[in-house]
Symmetry: D2
Subunit: 277 residues, 4 copies
């Protein structure tokens, strides 16, 4: 027996749950878990169906094609491990957390490689027997650097790219190669403190809470669909540096929770938002 | 068009979602929201289906009877307001919160009456034009008092009883008249600090967090199925009295969140646990 | 014996704690609690000292004057109840929470009056035997209306004004009459979603957390020193209206916590920030 | 210039803050941060004073001796790194978190060695160039095993021992060698679910929140002074195993926060409680 996840996204109409679950039943597939959501403002229907059984992908998808409204998107995803490449700069806490969670099995993913624009995190990465590519940006234009990073990344054919405190802005050309497949952690509670030095901005404004945001990367900086956010309290005793220090825990926790959702096929994207089923 | 909620609880078998949603579809009922859960340790299936359309309750339930495994429980609940009676002693914060949330519409419920074993909360209740019954326990046995409280309660035929800091233990005879229909707020994070004076117990133990637990009342004190729990941090500067004071907010928030789930038919009970769909 | 709180704010120099506590000791005043903070970026010293004993305010302040650096601010505040006036528009949840907490003693304050630009909350206010002034803004310029509100407010000589979802912007002339004495609750996690309809803005951006901010009002809208912030999680199932509904609880909790700090003389203001000792 | 922290614990009397800060002032020591607490139920005074300057420890402590009430405890602690030994069994998440935080500098401590009763975590430890001692308990009595562990530990003369999911109970003889210097992480919100398999207990009770508790180890199992606690929400979809999995994050976060407090000399112990200044 295999396990697969059926992801359906189409315009809403009566009877969709019944039609889809009927087809699964006829194919003798057992539904382990089913979640659906209708966005009433856009009349869009989303359903995530965890299935178990013997799959004939072709006939199953053909049956669904016939039953669902025109333009329906559906995907039958293997419930196995995904492959990721992680992009980093100099800070180790997010990378370290992913490495450690992968080590102890709480984040079940294949880390194909780590690519950094400095060599600072090479030793840490290699301690976990994962290849590290240092692609320095020095002396290169942004396009040139992105091109070299892409070459390093593409050889692994990853399902997703993870920007684990990668402190450079990707060109639209780069982003378009991995649409909704690049996950970034931004060190603020977006949309507050967009752009550079969010902790300094937070300190200057005198906020009492700081946060982090994991989101898909689109060509608009810090504007992509948000997957997960969380915050921690701060007070007047925190300098901007203290905030950055304290924020590390929330950054890594938010990133790894977002990864858990994405890597297990829970996340749909609709416009600038995510639906997490 | 009407709105009703179908609650299904039966032993698990393949095709249940398909069968139930098919029947709804045949009855031309639109599924607004559907949630299901299978408890794999007990092989029990739970489903909550919000429906919209023109209902023929009799034929719908008959169709379901035929389709579902023997012994299946199903209920078609009107999505209207429920009627509650609130039991109190002397503390006003939980009662006040329910009165105020009912006043501003954020807790949509009919408060038929408040019954207290003191008259301390009579004035507050009557400010909101709700009848108050003072049933003093003085000079009465527990059975006699419970009998008088039951008489005061039963005339309103409430859907649920809410113990909003009612500081007396109900007899099993009382509890059995409202099985899984009495909601209590206990002022600790159960199962820690069962019984009397939980804040004093928490102080004596030196805990760094205090909490509250909303649960259905069964004949075993503080042992009923838990609906909602939450906590707040405390530290060495808190006396037992400070903890009690700080705990009021978490008590009232937990109680009103639990009520929101129960009154909108989200809560199933299985053994000593709740499934909240 | 009396209780008073000494608030000291001056430029930092060695020996300040020693000097101030010495003077208190010589005056035979017992220190119940002492907290201090030095802002290293601005070299400012802040200290809050709860004292108990028989006070000779004049000689105590004179002794402090002599000991502290030039330009030092110090204040000896009676630890009694403060008097507030609450400004409202149509929403009842923040007002109701303050009324109820005042009723049960958990917010120990004298509510001198409630002033609203509609009469919607008159009945609720009067149930708690508090005078309500309806000052309609219809047909008035902003200056004219503010003038009439000020007249209604000033007759009570309040220590603080509380904007409990008062949905109008105060003129600088109004604000300047109560510098750092007007507390507002803004229904977003500032500085995100400044201005109108923050819940709609939050919905449009697809955030996964919404919040509330209590701050002192200055003449720059939504830019005053922040006293308290908190958040709650939301997800794709929340409409803008659902967010507004869910946000009510966090708004009222944040406002009443901020009030607790302000009314017990814990809050210093330095530039655009608060120091809470 | 040096930095040291003065920790004072004595019975309360008037003028203590003044006396202590005076002495510091006379010694030309600058107070960077001062916190005090009086436990009114026990009339005990606690003060933590961060000092900067040129220290003459002997005369400073002698001056304090003369000024403070008889039986006063005071300690002048170097603000440098502490040395710890970590005890483990098989689970890597707490150890991994400490190793990683030490690696990136957010937990500034010298990890002298890791001692485990299995060899499972040897490779991970050695990747961070830290010595690992495997001291198997097989075929040994508890006394014999503890004796061997003590030998491995004592050679490093650690300031503190950290039980990072060390799944064995220490003998009182062991504990007495490191009074208030052994920190344990218990995988429940104590005092709920004392003893073995707390997640299974939590599952069986149907709680809606699970937690973790960091505490000093005393000879009474799970009864030592609590340093830090935190919780996360769970629901009916969590098996006991899912709870254990989800609990890992809260365990490691609670442990590392407790360590941060202990290693920076913020924690006083009074009876069965901690005062954290």
């Amino acid at each position: 027996m295999e396990k697969k996840t059926l992801l359906t996204h189409c315009s809403d109409e009566p009877g969709l749950i019944s039609k889809i679950t009927n087809i699964c039943y006829k194919h003798q597939l057992n539904i382990i878990h089913n979640s659906e959501f209708v966005d009433n403002t856009t009349s869009q229907f989303f359903m995530r169906t965890e299935l178990e059984g013997y799959f004939n992908d072709e006939t199953l998808l053909a049956d669904l094609d016939q039953a669902l409204p025109e333009g329906a998107l559906h995907q039958l995803v293997n419930s196995g491990r995904k492959r990721i490449v992680i992009l980093v700069t100099k800070e180790s806490h997010c990378l370290g957390d992913i490495l450690m969670k992968n080590y102890d099995g709480s984040l079940d993913v294949e880390i194909a490689a780590v690519v950094g624009n400095y060599d600072k995190l090479q030793a840490l990465t290699e301690r976990f027997d994962i290849p590290y590519h240092c692609v320095s940006h020095e002396g290169l234009t942004r396009d040139q650097h992105d091109q070299k990073v892409l070459e390093a990344v593409n050889q692994y054919q990853p399902d997703y790219l993870v920007l684990a405190k990668y402190m450079r802005i990707l060109t639209p050309e780069f982003v378009n190669q991995y649409p909704h497949r690049i996950i970034n952690i931004h060190h603020s509670f977006l949309p507050a403190f967009i752009g550079a030095k969010p902790y300094q901005q937070a300190y200057d404004r005198g906020v009492k809470i700081i946060g982090a945001t994991a989101h898909f990367v689109t060509s608009n900086l810090d504007e992509g669909p948000i997957i997960k956010q969380d915050v921690i309290p701060v007070d007047h005793t925190f300098s901007a540096q203290d905030m950055a220090q304290a924020g590390r825990d929330v950054e890594k926790n938010v990133l790894s929770k977002a990864l858990g959702k994405v890597l297990n096929d829970h996340v749909f994207v609709e416009g600038n938002k995510t639906i997490i089923l």
